[in-house]
C-alpha cells in the first residue's frame, strides 16, 4: 500500500513540523533577548546558487541591437547624452541625430523634422514609446508637449534613419523614433527633481519605485510650465502622471502594464486676430498599454500587445464681434478628440543557428471626433490592418541578410505592400558595410482625407465661410529609400557611422487652395497627391571617447531635395548642411561639464517664411553630491547662449536665451 505509507509519511512530517513550531515558539519566548543573534544565522550557501536556472532578463527585445547588425542606420541617444544635452523637452534631444531639425512653432508645438518635408505638424516620422505609436490620427504627427512621459524615465532613444515599415508599421516613413523607458525593476526608492528658470520655467518631478523580484512598479508624476517664446500667448502648464508595472509570471512569462496622463492649458492665438485671438486650449492626453511576452522552450518568443491612446483638445471660442455682420460673434469649435485602439501579436522564431524570423499581425481602430474640421458631430473612424515578416539570415559569420515585407490594409486607402532588403557585410572585425533598399507608406490622416471646416452663423448652419474641403480619394504617400552605409571602429575609442542615401518620395499629400464657390474668398483648402521629391545626401556620426570621463559625438548631414514643387515648396524644406556636436567631460569630484552646438543652413518649413542660418549653443554644468543616504545632482543649464534668432518662422518664433537650474535627489 504505497499510497497509505505516503499519507502516513506526510502526516508524520506535518506533526513533526507542528512540534518544531511549538519548540521554536517556546525557544523564542525563553530566549527572546538572544533572538537577534538567532536570526542572524544565515542558511548555508548551497550548490543550487550555481545550478539554478534564471529567467532570461536581457532578451533580444530588451537590448539595443548592435549598430553593425541593424538593417538600417540607427542613432542611439543614451541616458548620458540626454542629460549632457541640457534638454528640458524630449523633442530637443533629437537635435543630436544627424539630419534632424527641431524647432518650436510655439512654446508647446514642437516640430521635429528629418530630411525636410515638414510643416508645423511634421507628419512623416513615426514615434513610438515602448512600442506604442504616439502618432496622432487627427492632425498627423506628434504633439510632443502632450506625451505623458518624463525625460527622467527614458532609458534610451533609438532613431532609425530611413523608412522601416517592416519593423515599426505604418507611417515609419522618413525615420522612426523609438523611445524606450526604463524597466521598473531598474528603479528603486524615490526620486525628486525641481527646476526653476527664466521665462517662467517651473518644473517638478516626483517618482517612487519599488517591488520585489516578481513584480516591480514605478509611478512618476510631474508638472511643467513655461512661457513659450515669451512674445505670444504660447505658454503651457503641463500636469502629468504615468505608471509602469512589470510582473513575472513564472520563468517564461512577463507582463508589462503602463498608463499615463497629461493635461493642462496651452496658450494659443494672436493678438488682433478676430477668431484666433489669445486664448487657452485644454489638453487631455492619456493612454493604457499592456504587453505580454511568453518565451517558448526553443528560445522563441511570442509577444502580444494592446494599447489605447486618447488625445483631446478642448477649444471653443466665440469670435470677436464682426462689424460686417452687425457685430455678430461667430462660434468657432476647435474641439478635437482622437482615440486609437491597437492590438498586435509578434512571434520571434529561431530557425536553426543562422535564421531568425520575426512575424506578426496587428489591427487598429482610429476614431476622430472633430466637428469643426471634419464636418460631422459623430466621430469618423478608420480601420487598419497589417501583417509583417522579417527574416534575418546569418549567411556566414561576416554576412547578414535581412529580408522583410509588410502588407497593410486601410479603410481609406485599400491595400499596400512595403518590402525591405538589407545586407550587412563585415569587412574585418570592427568594420561593416551595409546596403539596403526599403519602402514604406504614409497613410493620409483624417483632416487630409475628410477635412470639412465650416463656420456658421446660426445653429442651422447658414454658411459664413468654408476653410477646408477635402475632395478625398487620397492614396498613401510612398517612399523608396536606397542606402549604402559603413560602420567602423577607426580607433579603439573612435567609431564612425557613415551613410549615403537616396529617398524617392512620391504621391506627396499636399494641401492647396482649391476653388470653392461658397466660401468668402471662393477658396477652400484641399489635399491631393501631386508632388514628389527626390532626397539625396549623406550623413555621418562620429563617436569619440578619448578617455573614460569624456565623450564627443559629432553629427553631420548633407541633404539635397529636388521636387516638382507643384503645391508646396519642398525643395527648400531642409537645410543643405547641418551639424550637431556634443561634448561632455567629467572634471572629477562629481563635476560634469557639457556643451552642445548645432548649426544648420537656411531652410523654409512648408507653408512658412524662410529662416536663415541657425547657430545654437547649449551649456550645462552639473555637480553630483551625496546627502546622507541620497544621491543628488545640481545643474545649471544655459540654452541658446548665442542669443536671439529666428527659429521656425520669421515672424512668430524668435528664440532667446534661456537659463535654468535643476536639482534632483535619488533615494534608494
Amino acid at each position: 500500500m504505497p499510497e497509505f505509507s505516503t499519507v502516513l509519511l506526510i502526516m508524520l512530517q506535518a506533526i513533526r513540523c507542528r512540534i518544531s513550531q511549538v519548540q521554536t515558539i517556546g525557544l523564542l519566548l525563553v530566549a527572546a533577548p538572544l533572538s537577534a543573534a538567532w536570526a542572524a544565522e544565515p542558511p548555508l550557501l548551497s550548490e543550487q546558487e550555481f545550478l539554478a536556472e534564471l529567467p532570461v532578463v536581457l532578451t533580444a527585445s530588451r537590448m539595443a541591437q548592435p549598430q553593425a547588425e541593424a538593417p538600417a542606420a540607427v542613432s542611439v541617444i543614451d541616458r548620458q547624452m540626454i542629460e549632457a544635452s541640457g534638454a528640458r523637452n524630449l523633442s530637443e534631444v533629437l537635435r543630436l541625430v544627424p539630419g534632424f531639425q527641431v524647432e518650436f512653432e510655439s512654446g508647446h508645438r514642437h516640430v521635429v523634422g528629418y530630411h525636410g518635408l515638414a510643416d508645423e505638424f511634421s507628419r512623416r516620422l513615426q514615434v513610438l514609446i515602448d512600442g506604442r505609436s504616439v502618432y496622432l490620427p487627427s492632425f498627423g504627427g506628434v504633439s510632443w508637449s502632450d506625451l505623458p512621459v518624463s525625460l527622467d524615465d527614458i532609458e534610451r532613444i533609438e532613431v532609425i534613419r530611413g523608412p522601416n515599415a517592416v519593423t515599426y508599421g505604418a507611417n515609419s516613413f522618413l525615420a522612426v523614433i523609438n523611445i524606450t523607458t526604463r524597466h521598473s525593476a531598474a528603479d528603486r526608492g524615490g526620486f525628486v527633481r525641481a527646476t526653476v528658470g527664466s521665462n517662467d520655467i517651473r518644473d517638478g518631478v516626483l517618482r517612487v519605485a519599488g517591488g520585489d523580484g516578481d513584480v516591480s512598479y514605478r509611478l512618476t508624476t510631474g508638472y511643467q510650465q513655461d512661457n513659450g517664446y515669451g512674445q505670444h500667448n504660447d505658454s503651457r502648464r503641463i500636469t502629468f502622471m504615468n505608471g509602469r508595472m512589470d510582473a513575472r509570471a513564472g520563468e517564461r512569462d512577463d507582463i508589462e502594464y503602463q498608463f499615463g496622463y497629461n493635461e493642462g492649458p496651452r496658450g494659443r492665438g494672436v493678438a488682433g486676430d478676430p477668431v484666433n485671438y489669445p486664448h487657452d486650449q485644454e489638453i487631455t492626453s492619456r493612454f493604457q498599454q499592456i504587453r505580454w511576452r511568453h518565451r517558448l522552450d526553443s528560445g522563441d518568443e511570442v509577444a502580444v500587445q494592446f494599447y489605447y491612446n486618447h488625445h483631446e483638445s478642448d477649444e471653443q471660442v466665440l469670435s470677436l464681434p464682426i462689424p460686417q455682420l452687425g457685430g455678430f460673434q461667430i462660434p468657432v469649435n476647435y474641439d478635437v478628440k482622437s482615440e486609437r485602439y491597437d492590438a498586435e501579436v509578434q512571434h520571434t522564431v529561431g530557425l536553426g543557428e543562422t535564421l531568425r524570423l520575426v512575424w506578426g499581425a496587428g489591427a487598429r481602430l482610429d476614431l476622430v471626433e472633430w466637428p469643426g474640421f471634419l464636418g460631422s458631430a459623430e466621430p469618423l473612424d478608420n480601420h487598419y490592418y497589417r501583417v509583417f515578416a522579417n527574416l534575418e539570415w546569418r549567411v556566414t559569420s561576416r554576412l547578414l541578410l535581412n529580408a522583410g515585407v509588410m502588407a497593410e490594409n486601410s479603410d481609406m486607402t485599400g491595400s499596400d505592400l512595403s518590402p525591405r532588403l538589407a545586407a550587412n557585410y563585415q569587412l574585418m572585425p570592427g568594420h561593416t558595410l551595409r546596403a539596403g533598399v526599403s519602402s514604406a507608406t504614409r497613410q493620409p490622416v483624417l483632416i487630409e482625407e475628410k477635412g470639412n471646416a465650416r463656420f456658421c452663423l446660426d445653429p442651422t448652419c447658414t454658411l459664413f465661410n468654408q476653410t477646408f474641403y477635402s475632395s478625398g480619394n487620397l492614396e498613401p504617400e510612398r517612399i523608396l529609400s536606397s542606402e549604402l552605409g559603413y560602420i567602423g571602429r577607426l580607433a579603439p575609442a573612435l567609431t564612425l557611422d557613415l551613410r549615403f542615401f537616396r529617398d524617392h518620395v512620391t504621391k506627396l499629400i499636399t494641401g492647396f487652395d482649391a476653388v470653392y464657390a461658397d466660401s468668402l474668398d471662393n477658396e477652400a483648402y484641399d489635399f491631393r497627391n501631386r508632388d514628389e521629391a527626390m532626397i539625396t545626401g549623406s550623413e555621418l556620426q562620429l563617436h569619440w571617447q578619448p578617455e573614460r570621463n569624456s565623450r564627443v559625438i559629432l553629427g553631420y548631414a548633407n541633404v539635397r531635395i529636388e521636387s516638382n514643387n507643384l503645391d508646396e515648396n519642398y525643395s527648400d524644406s531642409a537645410p543643405r548642411n547641418s551639424v550637431s556636436l556634443l561634448g561632455l567631460h567629467e572634471l572629477g569630484d562629481g563635476l560634469l561639464a557639457s556643451a552642445a552646438f548645432y548649426y544648420q543652413d537656411k531652410m523654409t518649413y512648408l507653408g512658412e517664411h524662410p529662416i536663415g542660418v541657425l547657430r545654437r549653443l547649449d551649456l550645462r554644468l552639473a555637480q553630483r553630491f551625496r546627502l546622507a543616504d541620497a544621491q543628488g545632482e545640481a545643474a545649471i543649464v544655459l540654452q541658446n547662449v548665442l542669443g536671439k534668432q529666428v527659429s521656425f518662422n520669421e515672424e512668430e518664433s524668435i528664440a532667446d536665451r534661456i537659463g535654468f537650474i535643476t536639482v534632483n535627489f535619488s533615494f534608494h
Binding site: 548555508l44 550557501l45 534564471l54 541616458r79 531598474a186 523580484g213 516591480s216
Partner: protein, 347 residues
C-alpha cells in the same frame, strides 16, 4: 583546522609579493606545515588500514545535475580497468534513514558527498571514515567545518565555486580596458572581502566594494558601486544574487552600459556577459581522478581542500555585441585563462 591550514599554506605561498612579507609568511608556512604534518600523522594512525575499495557517495537528491556528476565520476574511474573502487550511491534522505553510523563495525573506506546538504548530513554523523565533501561552495564547507571540532585529516573538500583569482584573471583577459571591478557583498559573501582584495591586486585590477544587509538596498548599491567601476563581478550570496534579484542586477548594469561577470551558466543565459564555472561533469571527473590518486597512494590522506581543476567559460554573444564589446573566442579565453591560473585546465 588542519585542512584550513593546508589551504592557507597554499594561498600564502602563492600570493605574497612583498619581500618582508615573504619572510614572515615563510615562517608561518613552516609552522603551519608542522601542524599539518602532525595532523597527517594522527590521521595515518587512525585511518582504517583497509584500502579504500568501497566508496559511499551521498548525493542531495536524484536530479540531473548529480546524475551528470556521477556519470562523469564513473567514466573517469572506468578509464582504469583494474581494482577500481566500487561505488555505492545513496541520497541524503537514504543516508539519514539507513546510512552507516559512527558505531557501525563495518564502514565504507571513504565517503564522498555531493552538495551542501549531503555534506552537512554526513558530517553531522561524525563517521570515523574519511569524508570528501564535493560540489559545494567554499563558504558552505568553511561554515560546516567551523562548527565541528573533530580531526581534520579525515575530511576534505572539492569546491564548486571558482577561485577568485581565476575570475579576476578572466576579467583581465576578456576585458583588458575594464580594470575597475565592482562588487556588491551581502552578509554571506562579506567573508570573502579580504580574499577578493588580494585576488584583485594580484590580477592588477582595482576593486570597488559596496555592502548591503537588505535586498531593497541592492539597486542603490549597484548605482554607487558602478559609478566607479567598469564591470560587475557577481559573488554568490543568497541576498544579493538570486532568482529575484537577477533582473535588477542585469537591467541596472546594462542600462549603465557595463557588463556583468557571473558565476554560473544560467547567469550568462540570463544576460551576464560571461561566466567561469565548473559543470557537474567537470566536478565528477575531478572526484574520480582524486579517488584514483588516493588509491594509488593507499593509506595516505585526502587531498587538501581545493577548487575545481576543470572549468568552462561561457560568453553571451548577443550581450557582448549589444554592449559593443568584442571579446576573444571562448576557446581562446579558456585556454589563456588555464595558462594564467596554473594547475587548472578547461574542456
Amino acid at each position: 583546522m588542519t585542512g584550513d591550514a593546508l589551504n592557507a599554506v597554499l594561498l600564502i605561498g602563492k600570493k605574497t609579493q612583498n619581500g618582508t612579507w615573504r619572510v614572515r609568511a615563510g615562517l608561518m608556512c613552516v609552522l603551519r606545515r608542522l601542524i599539518a604534518l602532525a595532523a597527517l600523522a594522527v590521521a595515518f594512525v587512525s585511518w582504517p588500514v583497509a584500502a579504500a575499495t568501497e566508496v559511499l557517495v551521498v548525493i542531495a537528491q536524484k536530479s540531473p545535475a548529480y546524475e551528470e556528476a556521477l556519470a562523469a565520476l564513473r567514466t573517469s574511474l572506468a578509464d582504469v580497468s583494474d581494482n577500481e573502487p566500487t561505488l555505492r550511491v545513496m541520497t541524503a534522505a537514504e543516508f539519514s534513514n539507513s546510512g552507516p553510523r559512527a558505531t557501525d563495525q563495518k564502514l565504507p573506506g571513504l565517503v564522498v558527498t555531493l552538495g551542501t546538504d549531503a555534506a552537512a548530513m554526513v558530517l553531522r554523523q561524525k563517521l570515523p571514515a574519511p569524508t570528501y565533501c564535493t560540489f559545494l561552495p567554499q563558504a558552505a564547507y568553511a561554515a560546516l567545518t567551523n562548527v565541528s571540532n573533530e580531526r581534520h585529516a579525515r575530511r576534505s573538500a572539492l569546491y564548486l565555486d571558482q577561485p577568485l583569482i581565476r575570475q579576476m584573471q578572466l576579467i583581465r583577459l576578456a576585458l583588458p580596458i575594464r580594470t575597475r571591478v565592482g562588487v556588491v557583498l551581502g552578509p554571506e559573501s562579506r567573508k570573502s572581502e579580504h580574499n577578493l582584495r588580494q585576488a584583485a591586486v594580484s590580477a592588477g585590477l582595482v576593486l570597488r566594494i559596496e555592502q548591503i544587509t537588505d535586498e531593497k538596498h541592492l539597486v542603490g548599491a549597484l548605482h554607487r558601486v558602478m559609478d566607479g567601476a567598469d564591470v560587475l563581478l557577481a559573488v554568490p550570496d543568497p541576498l544579493v544574487f538570486n532568482r529575484n534579484t537577477a533582473q535588477s542586477v542585469l537591467l541596472t548594469t546594462y542600462r549603465l552600459g557595463k557588463p556583468v561577470v557571473g558565476y554560473s551558466r544560467a547567469y550568462v543565459t540570463a544576460g551576464a556577459l560571461l561566466s567561469v564555472y565548473s559543470t557537474p561533469a567537470q566536478i565528477g571527473r575531478q572526484i574520480g581522478e582524486e579517488l584514483l590518486a588516493m588509491r594509488d597512494r593507499s593509506g595516505r590522506p585526502l587531498p587538501a581542500p581545493g577548487y575545481p581543476r576543470y572549468f568552462s567559460v561561457e560568453i553571451n554573444e548577443r550581450v557582448a555585441r549589444s554592449l559593443g564589446i568584442e571579446p576573444d573566442q571562448v576557446e581562446d579565453l579558456s585556454r589563456r585563462l588555464a595558462e594564467k591560473t596554473t594547475g587548472t585546465s578547461h574542456e
